[in-house]
């Protein structure tokens, strides 16, 4: 399949995963999308509230919300991070790049790169060797995955050589196949999103 055909497959399958899909003009546009998504949502829930701290109004789940908005962007290059800083200047958004262990109570959004996207299942292959990437993609309420169109794969089996490549870069490796938000059906087999990790997953497709 050609790249365009694979993009069409992703477009067709994304809604049922569920994944929100956005085709960005360039990196700056991709980052702007993540910022917009963050600004549209309510403030993040605080899952580890401390006695005596001040919080915002209660969420729909009756949990306290945070007074600030946070975007975690582990794994972006200095240049990419600078673009994000530009986009959030003048907003109430606070950027996090590392030390996410200190933010386990939650943050609004994470922006991370995926090494590849499997079209057939809309699965992001995420190099998660960095602990910050693992926490970023789990603790954020909204996970935004950046994917270059040239990395689109057709089927899951086609991820084999990428897997072997990731494994053979030396030393330990941690790779995640991520397909949609964190989900469960453990209570009465009713589907529910965000049981431990993201409530939403967004994929932003970029040209190379």
């Amino acid at each position: 399949m050609t790249q365009d055909q694979l993009v069409e497959v992703v477009k067709a399958k994304a809604p049922s995963v569920p994944v929100s899909l956005y085709e960005a003009r360039d990196f700056a546009d991709a980052v702007q999308y993540a910022v917009d998504v963050t600004e549209k949502r309510r403030h993040c829930e605080m899952l580890l509230p401390k006695e005596g701290e001040t919080y915002g109004p209660l969420s729909e789940n009756s949990f306290p919300t945070m007074l600030d908005r946070f975007i975690a962007a582990p794994g972006l290059s200095d240049e990419e991070f600078a673009v994000l800083e530009g986009k959030t200047a003048g907003t109430d958004i606070i950027l996090l790049r590392s030390g996410l262990r200190g933010h386990m109570g939650g943050f609004n959004t994470s922006i991370t790169w995926a090494e590849a996207l499997v079209a057939d299942t809309v699965t992001c292959v995420v190099n998660s060797n960095s602990e910050e990437v693992r926490l970023g993609t789990m603790v954020a309420e909204v996970s935004v995955m950046l994917v270059r169109k040239s990395t689109l794969l057709n089927k899951l089996e086609d991820a084999n050589s990428l897997m072997l490549d990731l494994l053979n870069r030396g030393g330990a490796s941690y790779t995640a196949f991520i397909t949609g938000p964190s989900r469960t059906a453990d209570i009465e087999r009713v589907g529910a999103l965000g049981v431990h990790g993201p409530l939403e997953l967004h994929i932003v497709l970029l040209e190379d």
């Binding site: 386990m104 995640a176 196949f177 059906a185 453990d186 009465e188 431990h196």
Partner: protein, 716 residues
């Protein structure tokens, strides 16, 4: 967790489950939805081909378990992991407790691991003073309730939202919404977050241990495993040796089947691949302290046992429970000890011993549904029968089994006994002599009042045959009939109808008198030696080479002859004869439709509304189109809901577990009645006995016939 020591205790546990209305409604709904969802998610894929590949991959791995272990160990150690091998559950528990102690860990979080359940790891760690918290939502719920899982994939499927809400209210000391499941899930999101922060050790299971890279692969939907393996400074993986697999490509292949079969998902939300001690800010030198404990607990021995080795193919998808008519009625707590469903019956015996399994392994109806849905094509009913045979061998026979074996191994004695019963049953018959009146439960081994049992026919088929057969002078085909007991002695009219139809269409029919019971009831009772003896009698009763086909009208006999005879008579002097015999066995509808080629022109079609029950052993043999095509030629065929679900007969099963047989039978009756048809047709005398018996006992107007009777009535 079903841990009944004897059948009496087990029956009372079963009754508890049958009285649980929520459980019944949930599992009913699940059974129907699962089948539909599974069909949808596999659409356009070569399912059988994939299952075969999974079986091959896992078989190959099981035969090279220790080599794969060594390779895995070398690769993992290269990446800074400590690899352990525990020969028993107790040893694995000791190793993990020692790791906790040496690393000064007290707060342990876990992601889902059936292997940890197998060895009761939590209890062992708690005894050492550790605090263990499950993070998978379902596992957390049952941990808080001090229960075991009732399903391998959905451990809390037996609980309602109200039970969960009340539990969460109790745990959080805050009144929780009792209706809104979304909000209940968020309670877990919030309550468990602090546990990830506090924990100093994380324990996970593994779906794959990939030898070529010392790589652990896991499939989860919640993503809790990613936090369990990231936040704490120590990570321990517990994996059965059967999780070893040679390559990443193998794992990706298995992943095409596992989530589809488990939850009808193309893939789970997270597949996590961990090779080596990864970055960890709180670990020694910024790295995780990582241990992998492989568990033997009998697996190496099982790999060398031809009768049991296939069980190591199991990928824990849970599908064998999802399609099991017994699981549907009683749930996992009563259909397993730790492992549940069909594979649970076997694994309880293999991993937890005969004591825990003795009563449990009786609870398979033999419908073969699990075998046909298994991710790795494991013939689970065969393994269950094998376990029954080994229990009988190891522990001596039970009274019912001994009597059965004594009677059945000698055909003359068996048939004389039937003759005796026929004469002596007269005072007990009702409804024109065709049914036996209800007998005291003690005489029947259980309350059989849910169905009216048939009386023996005044004349057996073997007595009637010569007067009925009218062989053509120049036959198109020569066939012999294998009757089975039910049609020979209870329902000879079903065979008489078949002979009439076959003769009419130019088929020469013979009935060799040396034949006897097919042996399936014996095998179901663990009477392996006698079962082999009758198999041998049967293959020697037929000059198989003389016939174009050996025709059967009993689905269960057909299945047993075709699937089990080659195995039972392997390495016996009858092996060769058995091969020819089996190759000739053909069910009636396949012969009539495919070989004889009868079509609409050969019948007079009526407007009678008729529905169908597909016998389990017909489906198992892949005979599904033929009977329906024939029905459409002679009547107005209306499909029933769950036409492909067991009727609840299961031969000796319905005597051992009348309470279960009754429930399944009633459902079948209702589904058939709901079509508005006046007649339900099937192609097995066992199913006729069950459905007709249940219909009669419930004063239903629904008639039940064998397809041969319907076809014969509509011959031109």
């Amino acid at each position: 967790m079903a841990d009944a020591k004897n059948m009496k205790e087990y029956h009372s546990q079963i009754q508890e489950a049958l009285d649980d209305k929520f459980l019944r409604a949930t599992l009913d709904k699940f059974a129907v939805e699962y089948k539909a969802n599974r069909t949808r998610i596999f659409e356009g894929m070569d399912v059988d081909g994939l299952i075969k590949q999974v079986a091959d991959i896992k078989d190959n791995a099981a035969q090279h378990m220790m080599e794969l272990f060594e390779q895995f160990k070398t690769e993992a150690e290269k990446r800074g992991v400590h690899v352990h091998l525990a020969s028993t559950g107790a040893e694995a528990n000791r190793i993990i407790a020692r790791i906790a102690k040496e690393n000064n860990c007290h707060n342990i979080i876990k992601s889902k691991s059936m292997t940890a359940e197998e060895i009761h790891l939590n209890t062992a760690l708690e005894k050492e003073g550790c605090r263990v918290v499950e993070t998978d939502l379902g596992e957390w719920i049952i941990q808080l309730r001090h229960e075991g899982p009732s399903h391998m994939v959905m451990p809390a499927i037996h609980l309602s939202r109200y039970q969960v809400a009340d539990l969460f209210t109790d745990v959080t000391k805050v009144q929780q919404d009792r209706e809104d499941i979304q909000k209940l899930v968020k309670v877990a999101r919030k309550e468990l977050r602090i546990e990830y922060v506090k924990a100093d050790m994380g324990i996970s299971g593994a779906n794959f241990a990939v030898a070529e890279a010392g790589l652990i692969g896991t499939a989860t939907n919640e993503g809790n495993l990613r936090l369990v393996t990231t936040m704490p400074r120590v990570h321990v993986v517990l994996a059965g040796l059967e999780k070893l697999i040679p390559t990443v490509a193998d794992a990706l292949k298995v992943l095409q089947v596992l989530p589809r079969n488990a939850t009808a998902q193309a893939i789970t939300s997270y597949i996590t691949w961990i090779a080596g001690a990864n970055e960890c800010a709180t670990g020694p030198n910024g790295r995780k302290e990582m241990h992998i404990v492989f568990l033997d607990n009998g697996r190496l021995k099982i790999a060398q046992d031809p009768a049991f080795k296939d069980i190591l193919r199991c990928v824990r998808c849970g599908a064998c429970a999802n399609v099991c008519p017994v699981y549907r009625l009683i749930g996992g707590h009563k259909m397993g000890y730790v492992y549940i469903g069909a594979v649970g019956l076997a694994l309880t015996y293999l991993y937890h011993g005969a004591d825990k399994a003795r009563a449990l392994v009786q609870n398979c109806i033999g419908c073969e549904s699990c075998k046909n849905v298994c991710s790795a094509g494991i013939d689970l009913p065969r393994i269950t029968r094998e376990i029954r045979a080994r229990l009988v061998k190891a522990e001596g026979n039970n009274p019912a089994g001994s009597v059965m074996s004594m009677v059945m191994k000698d055909r003359d004695r068996f048939h004389s006994l039937l003759k005796f019963i026929k004469f002596s049953q007269k005072p007990l018959t009702v409804k024109g002599g065709r049914f036996i009146r209800h007998l005291p439960a003690v005489l029947m081994g259980g309350d059989q009042s849910f169905r009216q049992l048939p009386a023996l026919a005044p004349k057996s088929f073997r007595q009637l045959f010569n007067g009925v057969v009218n062989n053509p002078a120049q036959p198109r085909f020569r066939v012999a009939i294998f009757s089975g007991c039910a049609q020979d002695f209870i329902y000879p009219e079903q065979l008489v109808a078949a002979v009439r139809l076959l003769n009419k269409h130019g088929v020469h029919v013979e009935f060799p008198l040396g034949q006897t019971c097919c042996g399936l009831p014996l095998d179901m009772m663990g009477q392996r030696d006698t079962s082999i003896q009758v198999s041998s009698q049967n293959v020697n009763a037929f000059e198989a080479g003389k016939y174009d086909a050996i025709i059967t009208l009993c689905a269960s006999c057909t299945g047993h002859l075709k699937n089990s005879y080659p195995e039972l008579l392997k390495d016996s002097p009858d092996q060769y004869r058995a091969g020819i015999f089996v190759s000739k066995v053909m069910d009636f509808t396949s012969f009539v439709y495919n070989k004889l080629g009868l079509r609409a022109d050969d019948f007079v079609k009526s407007n009678e509304k008729v529905t169908y029950h597909s016998p389990c052993h017909m489906r198992d043999l892949g005979v599904t189109e033929e009977p329906r095509a024939l029905l459409n030629m002679v009547a107005d065929y209306v499909p029933a809901a769950e036409e492909d679900t067991c009727c609840g007969f299961g031969g000796t099963f319905s005597v051992k577990f009348p309470e279960l047989s009754a429930e399944i039978g009633k459902k079948k009756l209702k589904n058939s009645e709901d079509t508005g048809a006046s007649l339900v047709v099937t192609d097995c005398p066992g199913c006729v006995m069950q459905i007709r018996g249940v219909a009669t006992a419930n004063d239903s107007q629904l008639k039940v016939e064998h397809i041969s009777e319907l076809l014969a009535r509509h011959m031109k």
